[in-house]
Structure formats: structure tokens, C-alpha cells
Amino acid sequence: MNQYNMKDFDRALDDCLDRIRRGEGIEQCLANYPWHASRLEPLLRTAQQAQLAYVFEPSPSVTQDARAKLNAARAERAAAARSRPRSRVFGGFSWLRPLPAAAIASAVVIMLTILLLVRPTVTAPPVTEQPGENDYPAPGEEVAVPVTPDDFEPAFVMPSAHPDGNFAFYLSDEPNAINDFESLTVTVSSIMLKTRGEEPWVKLLPMQKQADLVQLQGNRSLELWRGDVPEGTYTMVFLHIEDVEGILVATGESIDLKLPSNRLHLNMEFELQADELTEFVFDITVRRIGPPENPITYLLLPQASESGIGRDIERVDLHGRPDEPGSQKPEDPDRERSPKRPDLEPTPGQPDMPVIPNTGHSQSGPHWRPTPDQH
């Protein structure tokens, strides 16, 4: 085979390898290169054999961890960029710098005047926001990102806390920079569960609002809520946090922690059955960010790899002492799950719980609402 023919053969081989990778058969490829077929075929079969020798698919959990690490690194990068001091007065508008202040002021006045004159003629169609559409991030994100105004909430149902419920929600902490803290107290205002499909979200008001993450390292978990949640498939969990207070070991001083949009969220699909207890752990981690020469900044992040259902749980109380399941409630923790009360069961066509429309206001109220038979 001369040099030209060799190059032609190399191209034919390359083309066949690409086509086989896309799903075509060896015979189909050979049919396109009959003059090379006898030499191509054994090489293509060798290539197939070589590929079979390394069949490997990374495990979904490891892939999820890797994705979470990338998202965490992106969040750190974004936080670091935000905290970086701007070296130029005009930032990205450096072309404005040579202009005198009077000229800028005049331009602003002219623009405002034009805006006021034009405004009455501009109309916008009414915007209706549907729950689950523009309110929360797209699937694929694990890390908290600011996605909506803080006062927006989708329509939701709000089940009562119940010691024999089918769902228990725990908070835990993955040790990262937690040892820098004497205490790191988060105050959770609400937990939102997103259902798959068009069902309203589920909002839980925690019975235990405050948790010191220093006491919740590893498998140690604090129960925030327990009750009956409608069965079904849930795809996202949001933790709304109203306050984070950290006290540093080194100096004893209290510091602010960064928490984008005051909430943390996990993309995590799980099933809830009506007659089976499901325990969900939301794991939070604290990371030190930014270059060491700058003042240390800490960032709270969800830890997807340690969160979800089926996690090992070492129950502790608010002070980190061992705790029995449901012991925060005024009930015997060892009793079995009681059957649902028929008088509280929904009648056909009637929803389990009233759907609370999107009001734009946060709900507040008692954390623990005893049912009549618990008085």
C-alpha cells in the first residue's frame, strides 16, 4: 500500500470507528469501503474487543458527589468574587472615567426625564407565576443559589406535626470547617418539599427551629419535624434559614456566615408512603472560603452526598445528647404508629389539607399543633 492509500485507509478506519461508536454495525461501515474491507474488518473487531475490556460506568452516588463538589466549588467561587473589593470606582464602566461628574449627572437627568415621559405609554402583559416554574432552580443543581425574591412562595399544603407521622426530618453536619466554631447555630424557619408534577408543595414548620451544627457532626442528627406528609414522589427539599450565628473557637467572637438567598436546597428524589416512616437527613456543611490573606469567610452549603433517606442516624437532642426518636414530643416515644383517625381522613374529592395559595407572605405560627386526642 502506497502512502496515499495508507492515508485513505487511516481515514476510512477513523470514520468507521466513529460510526460504530454512534451505534452503526461493522458490516454497514465495511459496505462503504469495499476496497479496504478485508483489512478494515479485523481492526474494527479488535477495537470492539478493546472497548469491551474496560466497560465501566461510574456509580450514580459517586457521580452525584462529584457534581455536588463542582457546585460547591462554583458557589465558593461566586462568593469569593462577590467579596473581592472593587479596585475601580466605575467597575466595568471604565469608559465613564474620563467624563467629568457634571456630564454624568446631566446624562442621568436626561435619561430619567426620557424614562418618565415614555413610561405611561409602555404596558406589560400581566405575569402569572405558576408554582414550580419560575420560583426555584432547574433540576441538576444541588447548591443553594439565589433564584427568586425571598418573599415568593409557591402554593403549598402545611401538614401538622405529629409524633406518629410518616415523615421525620433531621438536620446534620458534615465536618469541614466546623472545628473552627465553638457553636454554629442555624435557625430554620421552614422546610419546603417539592412534589413531582403539579401537586402543591409541602411546607413544614419545624418543631425544633434552632440547631447547633457543632453538635451534629457525622451521623449525629437533630429531629426538626415529624408528622404526616402526603404520600408521593418528592424531587427537591428547601431549607429556609432565618438566622446563622457562629462563635469562633480562636477568638470567641461572633461572626456572620454567608448564605445565598437565606435558603439551602437539595435536588433529591425520594418516595413517601402513607403507612411507612421515612426519615430524611438534610446535611449542612460549613466551608472556609477565600484566600488566607483576606479576612476568613465561611459559607454554608448543603452536602448532597450525606443527605437523603436511608442514612445512618444517631439521634441527638439540641445539646448533642443521645435522643430517642420523637422524644421532643409530649408522647411516649416507644409506642407503635397509630392508625389514622377516620374523622380526619379526607372524603373522596376533598384534599387532605387545604392548599394555601401563593400569598407572598411567610407563614408563621405554632410549631406544634396537637390533635384533639393529644390534649
Binding site: F9, D10, Y54, P58
Partner: protein, 175 residues
């Protein structure tokens, strides 16, 4: 009249970051497979794949798409990590997983496949470094020969030639 030079819009950092994140789903398994084919350990391969994306994020400000697509750039990072790993390990370790063998209805067939796989892997080890690089990027990284060439900083023709030579050598070793 002189023409104004064309305006070059610099790609914003956040755009590049979005593109990198968007590549995760399609590229992570391929980077892991490529690393596995080179180092033979699944756990290390998964670690290298994860590390590839973190390194890419760290270096994103320096990335400029000048003939090297982001995907090929990712594989170049993975390739460097693999080389570092092999230099540190200085040996080829393969994690044997016998679960499939034990749980199969036809263990003899599985064992035969295992032997074939072991032979193929041993033959792959006989290839030159460049030949191995080309085959692993093409077969396990899923890159085209052009992307492979960009990753390895070689010409397309050289890559196609190495690919053919590698397959011929493999074939003679497996006969």
C-alpha cells in the same frame, strides 16, 4: 476609508462556568472511563474525573477557546492528572471485582470473558505511550480524532496513523 477592526467579545467568566457545568453530565462518565482504561482502578478513576472538573473550574479564567474546544481541554486536564497518578503509583493496579463472577448463572462464560478482558488489558499495556493515549481518548473518552489531536497537541493525521498502528499491534498481540 479604513475599516474598523472587528469587535471581539470576550467570553464572560460566568458563561464559561455555565458551559463547564453543562458538560458535566456528558463528560464525567467519559473522563472516568478514560481514566479507568489508563490506570485500571475504578475508584481512582472516579476521583480523577471529579478532580478534572475542579481543576478546570480553578483554571477557567485562563481558558480561551483557540481551536481547543472545552471538551478537549477537559480531557487534557484529565490526561495530565492520569500522567501524575501513574507517575506516583508507578505501577498498574487493577481492581478485580468478582461479584459478577459469583452471582452469574453461567460462571464459566463470565470467567472466559474475564480472561479475554485480562488478555486485552495486558495487550493494551504493550502499546507505546502515544498509542495508548490515542486509543483511550478515542474509545473511552469518546473524542473524535480531531479532538484527540487537539488534546495531545498532535496533528490529525498523526493521530489517525497512531490509531491504526495501535490497532494492528493489539491485533497481533491478541492472536
Amino acid at each position: 476609508m479604513g475599516q474598523n477592526p472587528p469587535k471581539v467579545r470576550k467570553e464572560a467568566g460566568s458563561d464559561k462556568e455555565e458551559r463547564l457545568a453543562a458538560l458535566f453530565d456528558s463528560c464525567y462518565p467519559r473522563v472516568a472511563r478514560y481514566a479507568y482504561a489508563r490506570i485500571g482502578d475504578r475508584t481512582d478513576a472516579e476521583d480523577i474525573a471529579a478532580e478534572t472538573f475542579l481543576r478546570a473550574l480553578d483554571s477557567l479564567d485562563r481558558y480561551q477557546e483557540r481551536g481547543l474546544p472545552m471538551e478537549a481541554w477537559l480531557f487534557r486536564i484529565a490526561h495530565n492528572l492520569v500522567v501524575d497518578h501513574l507517575r506516583r503509583a508507578n505501577r498498574f493496579e487493577r481492581a478485580q471485582e468478582d461479584e459478577e463472577l459469583q452471582s452469574s448463572d453461567n460462571p464459566a462464560h463470565v470467567a472466559e470473558e474475564r480472561i479475554l478482558m485480562a488478555d486485552t488489558q495486558a495487550a493494551m499495556e504493550q502499546l507505546t505511550k502515544d498509542q495508548k493515549n490515542v486509543l483511550t481518548l478515542r474509545f473511552f473518552g469518546g473524542l473524535s480524532s480531531k479532538e484527540t489531536a487537539a488534546t495531545l497537541q498532535k496533528s490529525d493525521g498523526a493521530v489517525r496513523e497512531m490509531q491504526r498502528a495501535a490497532l494492528e499491534r493489539l491485533r497481533s498481540l491478541l492472536r
